[in-house]
Amino acid sequence: MFKIIRKVIKVGVVSENYQADSTQLDAKKYQEKILKKFQRSLAVRYVDAGSCNGCELEANALSNPFYNLSQYGIEWVASPRHADVLLVSGPVTKNMAEALKRTYDAMPNPKWVVALGDCACTNPHYGTNYAILGRVEDVLPVDMRITGCPPSPQKILAVILNLTLN
C-alpha cells in the first residue's frame, strides 16, 4: 500500500497538454469545448476491421499517463450504443465487414466515423482481393482520416480534438 503511494508521489503527474499550433488551445480549453458541444464527453468506440494491431497499440497508448485521453473529456466506450465516434483501423476484411456495419448501425445519431491508419484511409499495401473489401470509406461514410503506420498518439489526438472543434 505504502509502496504504491510512494511510487505515485515519486513519479508524479506526467500528463502532457496537447498544444495545437494554429489554435493555441490547451487541454482545459478542449475539455470545455467538448463538455459544451458533446454534453459532457466524447465517447469513442474502436473497431479493428482487419488491422495488424499496430494502430491498436497507439490507440491504447492514448490512455497512458502522458497522453491521458480522459483529461479532454474523451473516453473509450464498450458499446456502440453509447458512442459518438466510430474509430476504425485496418483494411476492411470481408470477414469483418458485417460486424463493422452492424456496429455503425447500432450507433445513435449524430455519429462520426474516423478512419485510423494508412490501411483504413488508403489501403496502400493489400489492394482488394478475395479477402479484403477495401478502405473504410468503401464500406462506411468517413468523416475524418488519420494517416500513419501507425499514426502516433499525438497525431490521433490532434485529429480527434480538431474534429470536436468543427
Partner: protein
C-alpha cells in the same frame, strides 16, 4: 534452416508418428500450388525436435508432393493438435483434403468465398460471397447456457469470436472462431517484389514487426545466398530484444489492470511510452517497423546512442524491479493471478505449445537458444521458465524475460560489433536468386517462434511466401485454460496469453 527433405505422401503418416515419438513439435504447415513448376501441389511441414541429439536434426523441413487432380494426405491432427486448424485452413485456401480428419469445418473461409473455390490456387478467380453458417459445437445439459463474445471486442483489441458454454458463472467450454482479420496475405505476396513483400510481412502482426521483418530478411538472404555481417546480426538482435521488452511492459500493465490494479497499468504504460519514445528519437519509428531490411539494417549505432540506451536499461531495470515487488505483495492482485487459467505441463506438451505461454507451463524451449542463433550463442543466454502454468506464471515469465533481455541488451550494446554495423551493407546484396527453392527462417518473437518461408522466381521476386505465428498453437491452450474458471476471469486469462489474431489469420 535445414534443406528440405522429401517424403512421399503415402509415408507421411508413418513419418509423423516417428517424429511424434521423438517429442517433435509441429511448428508450421502450409501448402503451395506449384503445378506449373513442379507438376504438383506441395505440402510443407516444419518440425522442431528439442530433444534431438544432433544439432542438424533439431529443425526438420519436409515437402510432400500431392496429386494435382485430388490433393490429399492423411490427417495428423491426432498427433499434432495444431494441425486441426492448419488442415482446415489448407482446405479453405487450396482444397487439400486431410483424409481421416474428424473436424472438417471451414476455418478462414467465413462467407467470402464458396466451399468449392480455393483462393491460393493459381486458377482461382474472385467469386460471390456465400451464406454458409458455421457449425459451432454445442454443449448440452440442464442449466448450461451459451455466452458469445465478439468479433468486435469491448476493449481496443483485435477481433475474434468466442462462444462459451457456461454453468452459472463457471465456464465449461470455450470455442474460438478466428479468421476475422484474414487478409489473404499469402496470395498478396505471390509474384511481388522483395521490397514490397518485406513491407507486407512486417505488417502481419504489428507488435511483432521486428521479428517478422527479421525472419523475412533471413529467409530471403538464404535464397540469395547472402550473409550479412556479424555486426548487423548483433544490431538486429538489439532491435528484437527491445521489441520483446516493449511488449512485456505493455502486457504487465494490462494484466495488472485486468486484475483490478489500475496503478499497474498507469506505471507500466508510462515505462512503455518512454521506451517507445527512445525508439522514435534514436531509430525513427516507435515500433521499429521497416528497419530490418533484406541485406542489412536501416539504422546505425554510435557511442552517444549506445550511452543513452545503456543508461535507459539501468533505469528500467530498477523501475521494473520495484513494480514487480508491488505486484507480488498485492494480495488482491495475486488472488486474481494465482491458480487462474492453468495450463498443466502435460497439456502444454500434448498441444505442442510454444514460446512464452509454453515456458510458463514448464516447456523449456526458446528458439534463440535451441537453434543456436547468433548473437545469442556468443553470450550467456538465460532461458526463463515457470511450471505452474497459471496467469501468475505467465506474469512471472514476462518479468524474468524483461530482466534477461535487459542483460542481453547490455551485453550486445557493449560489444564493439554493434557499433560497427552500417546501412551500406544492403548495397552488397544482389537480387539474383541463388536457387529457386523454398527457404525459411525461424525467429523467437516476443510471443514465441514465428516462421517465414519464401520462394523466389528467376526474376528475383517473391513467387510464394508463407508466414506462421506460434499463436496458431497457443490459441489451443486458451480453450483448456478457461476450464474451472469464471467468465469474469476470461479477459485476464486471454490477456495473459495475448496471442495474435492478425498473425494467425494471415
Amino acid at each position: 534452416m535445414q534443406l528440405s527433405q522429401q517424403v512421399e505422401v503415402k509415408n507421411l503418416r508413418d513419418y509423423c508418428v516417428a517424429l511424434h515419438a521423438q517429442g517433435a513439435i509441429l511448428l508450421a504447415m502450409w501448402g503451395s500450388d506449384e503445378r506449373s513448376e513442379q507438376h504438383a501441389f506441395i505440402l510443407h511441414l516444419i518440425f522442431l525436435l528439442p530433444h534431438a541429439q544432433e544439432q542438424t536434426a533439431i529443425e526438420q523441413y519436409t515437402q510432400i508432393k500431392l496429386a494435382t487432380d485430388a490433393p490429399a494426405f492423411s490427417d495428423i491432427s491426432d498427433l499434432f493438435p495444431v494441425a486441426n486448424r492448419l488442415q482446415r485452413a489448407l482446405y479453405d485456401l487450396l482444397g487439400f483434403v486431410a483424409v481421416g480428419a474428424k473436424d472438417t469445418r471451414p476455418w478462414l473461409r467465413h462467407q467470402a468465398w464458396s466451399s468449392d473455390q480455393f483462393p491460393l490456387r493459381t486458377d482461382f478467380s474472385v467469386c460471390p460471397p456465400t451464406q454458409d453458417l458455421y457449425p459451432f459445437v454445442t454443449v448440452q445439459g440442464e442449466g448450461v447456457h451459451e455466452v458469445s463474445v465478439g468479433p468486435v471486442h469491448a476493449g481496443i483489441i483485435e477481433p475474434g469470436y468466442f462462444r462459451f458454454s457456461v454453468m452459472g458463472e463457471e465456464m465449461l467450454r470455450l470455442e474460438e472462431r478466428l479468421g476475422y482479420t484474414h487478409k489473404g496475405i499469402a496470395k498478396r505476396l505471390q509474384n511481388t517484389a522483395i521490397h514490397d513483400a518485406a513491407k507486407i510481412v512486417a505488417r502481419v502482426s504489428g507488435d511483432a514487426t521486428v521479428a517478422y521483418s527479421l525472419a523475412f530478411a533471413e529467409a530471403i538472404e538464404q535464397a540469395l545466398d547472402f550473409k550479412v555481417s556479424e555486426a548487423t546480426q548483433w544490431l538486429r538482435a538489439i532491435l528484437l530484444e527491445r521489441e520483446r521488452i516493449a511488449n512485456h511492459l505493455g502486457d504487465l500493465g494490462a494484466l495488472g489492470n485486468d486484475g483490478g490494479l489500475a496503478f499497474g497499468l498507469a506505471q507500466f504504460s508510462r515505462l512503455k511510452e518512454l521506451w517507445l519514445r527512445t525508439h522514435q528519437a534514436l531509430f525513427g519509428h516507435r515500433y521499429l517497423m521497416d528497419l530490418i531490411v533484406t541485406g542489412g539494417i536501416e539504422i546505425e549505432l554510435d557511442v552517444a546512442k549506445q550511452q543513452i540506451l545503456l543508461a535507459e536499461i539501468k533505469l528500467l531495470r530498477q523501475e521494473v524491479l520495484s513494480l514487480e515487488n508491488i505486484y507480488q505483495q498485492h494480495s488482491g492482485l495475486q488472488g486474481r493471478f494465482v491458480t487462474t487459467g492453468i495450463v498443466k505441463h502435460k497439456r502444454a506438451e500434448t498441444l505442442g505449445l510454444l514460446g512464452l505461454a509454453a515456458r510458463a507451463s514448464g516447456i523449456a524451449v526458446d528458439c534463440r537458444q535451441l537453434l543456436k542463433q547468433l548473437p545469442y550463442q556468443e553470450v550467456d543466454f538465460k532461458l526463463v521458465k515457470q511450471t505452474a502454468g497459471d496467469v501468475a506464471a505467465r506474469v512471472k515469465v514476462r518479468f524474468q524475460e524483461i530482466y534477461a533481455s535487459l542483460d542481453l541488451l547490455e551485453k550486445f550494446l557493449t560489444n564493439p560489433l554493434s557499433l560497427a554495423a552500417t546501412k551500406n551493407e544492403v548495397q552488397r546484396c544482389s537480387v539474383k536468386p541463388a536457387s529457386c527453392s523454398w527457404s525459411y527462417a525461424i525467429i523467437e518473437s516476443w510471443r514465441g517462434p514465428i516462421a517465414v518461408a519464401v520462394k523466389l522466381n528467376a526474376a528475383g521476386q517473391v513467387s510464394h511466401a508463407h508466414v506462421h505465428d506460434c499463436s496458431w498453437q497457443n490459441w489451443l491452450a486458451l480453450s483448456y485454460a478457461i476450464v474451472d474458471n469464471i467468465v469474469a476471469d476470461f479477459p485476464l486469462i486471454n490477456k495473459s496469453f495475448n496471442l495474435s489474431y492478425s498473425g494467425a489469420d494471415v
